[in-house]
Symmetry: C2
Subunit: 347 residues, 2 copies
């Protein structure tokens, strides 16, 4: 049974595509939308879903159950940092329930905006595999319940932007070279004409922390789930090619890229205080150096992929078991990073 | 025979006082000042000085002779970087000659602004030892020549600011904490009232590169050489105490200082491109951490003291045997620094 966390596995185009997320929104005809459900209905819905999951064949996945209202602040916000639940789901935990697979690949949110939100995370650019797993989970509930479905419109959802497939598919892309050569605005305008959107994954503004961007579909009507995923995949593939080309151009000044790579590694290995933003920025530089094989060390890339999810503010506090003031958090973050990087790829 | 370079030795208060320089200006009655000497006179003066030096007992010092006009650009400017000659002496090499001791402690410039400039460098704050050695060399020439000397005025020099003792004594101080807490202006105004001056040792403006400052005497009339040196020593001692106190105050935020120290070491050990200014800045942070024993490693301090003189632009080019464009210079500098730090104080 492979219960390794999904982000420790390596996926297609993983030098640029960090992760792919597939999310299906589903509602059940027996109840009103969650915003209009009462406490009893919420509990009943959750019990029925729990029963379906516990009796269904979900191997190799095994699920852990969270009553969000009974779950610590730090644990809930750590879930947000790890992209396991939406910020809304953590902020208003009353009457909300989560079923999370041990490898953190699948999370099933009950009582978010819709009755069911089935989310699958995969490493690299891999929406097909993600969709297949989401559809498998979807099938389990489809057989147990009567989904709110309209022949004309498709799946009915609380928010009209999800009507139809109820599918939101996104890829997190690492685009430092395209950001530096000023191509993001052009790409953003192109993809929006094709019904997709690009936005910074961390932080605000035009230069998102660590140069991580989310590419996601916007259209859910008049399109099949497979078509939507295939559009996303094709466009992501093109952006990945452009990023690779831009990296090659940057790499013509080999010394500058080499310098940036080793400095980033040097700082990650030595700093005693590190903010989350600086970690993203340094790991961006280091990732680029790894992808250009300036440093040839696969375990280092895996370590970075894992650290991103391990050094978020809430995740650190969850580990420490208490609220940490900023300096303590930055100290602990620096320490976790140092310990993780110390033993790997020594030169 | 101790021919170790002076800057590899450790001197008093060497955590803050990098080096002490003593310089005596002397002229000989037989000739006009250098600016009015002809070629023949310059050569004759040099021959006489060379003969005196070669027959005198200068042990353990042994001198190397340089006809500056026959000396490569890179070698001359490397001497400036290593504080062995004045910039003027390197810029206009015609009719100028240098006798340099192997340990680079003593340099005797012939045909600078005065006939003889006897300079002694010592590690740490050590003007007494420097003065003793300078006076010993001075005595050798005093016995061989008739110095231009006036009972009223003292030693006669080309520039009236040197009249009297002909002595310029200076200490290079590392004052990062006083610079950061804004005390330099106050100190500068105090010392100038006492007939001394403080100025940045590297770079221009109010924040000199690496926080290195030169404290030097200005008064040469109506004062003995010993008094001048004692004034300098006393005032330097006070500034050193103030800097130590300011460092202790800074160290109250132990984490911030520790972070800065290890980051500096991390960057010095990993960068592939490094400007001279950045080296000074990082070595400033590292020195402060060493003096606060955040890192306890004496060989590291010695390495920094040596690197300051080894990674100057001209010194690097001298080593490479050719002119280096900026990026090559920065690459070579980074390489020299990495190699020197790699093997010491591994954690």
């Amino acid at each position: 049974m492979n219960q390794t966390k999904w982000f420790l596995q390596s996926g297609p185009d993983h030098d640029i595509a960090i992760s792919t997320r597939i999310r299906l929104a589903r509602n059940i005809t027996d109840y009103p939308f969650p915003s209009r459900m009462n406490d009893l209905q919420r509990q009943e819905l959750n019990e029925r879903i729990g029963k379906v999951l516990s009796t269904a064949d979900t191997a190799p996945l095994s699920f852990t159950y969270f009553d969000m209202e009974q779950t610590d602040d730090a644990v809930r916000w750590s879930m947000v940092e790890r992209h396991l639940v939406s910020p809304q789901f953590a902020r208003y935990p009353e009457g909300r329930y989560l079923y999370l697979s041990e490898d953190e690949r699948v999370s099933i949110m009950v009582g978010e905006e819709d009755h069911l939100r089935i989310q699958v995370l995969t490493a690299g650019l891999d929406p097909t595999e993600g969709l297949a797993l989401a559809q498998k989970m979807d099938g389990i509930f489809d057989r147990a319940f009567r989904y709110a479905f309209d022949q004309q419109l498709g799946y009915l959802t609380e928010c009209p932007t999800n009507l139809g497939t109820g599918l939101r598919a996104s890829v997190m892309l690492h685009l430092p070279a395209l950001r530096r050569n000023g191509s993001i605005a052009r790409i953003s305008s192109t993809v929006s004409k094709l019904g997709l959107t690009v936005r910074g994954a961390y932080g605000e503004g035009t230069d998102p922390a660590g140069d991580f961007y989310q590419l996601s579909n916007q259209i859910t009507l008049g399109i099949s789930e497979e078509e939507a995923v295939s559009n996303l995949s094709g466009l992501a593939g093109q952006i990945i090619l452009q990023e690779r080309k831009a990296r090659q151009t940057e790499a013509e000044n080999h010394l500058a890229v080499e310098d940036r790579t080793y400095r980033a590694l040097g700082l990650l290995k030595s700093a005693r205080l590190m903010s989350g933003d600086e970690f993203l920025k340094l790991s961006s530089a280091l990732r680029m150096g790894l992808s250009l094989q300036i440093i040839d060390c696969d375990t280092l890339l895996t370590a970075l992929n894992s650290l991103i999810f391990d050094v978020g503010a809430a995740t650190l506090q969850k580990g420490a078991g208490r609220l940490l003031p900023e300096q303590e958090r930055d100290t602990l973050r620096a320490q976790v990073i140092r310990e993780r990087l110390e033993s790997i790829c020594r030169d």
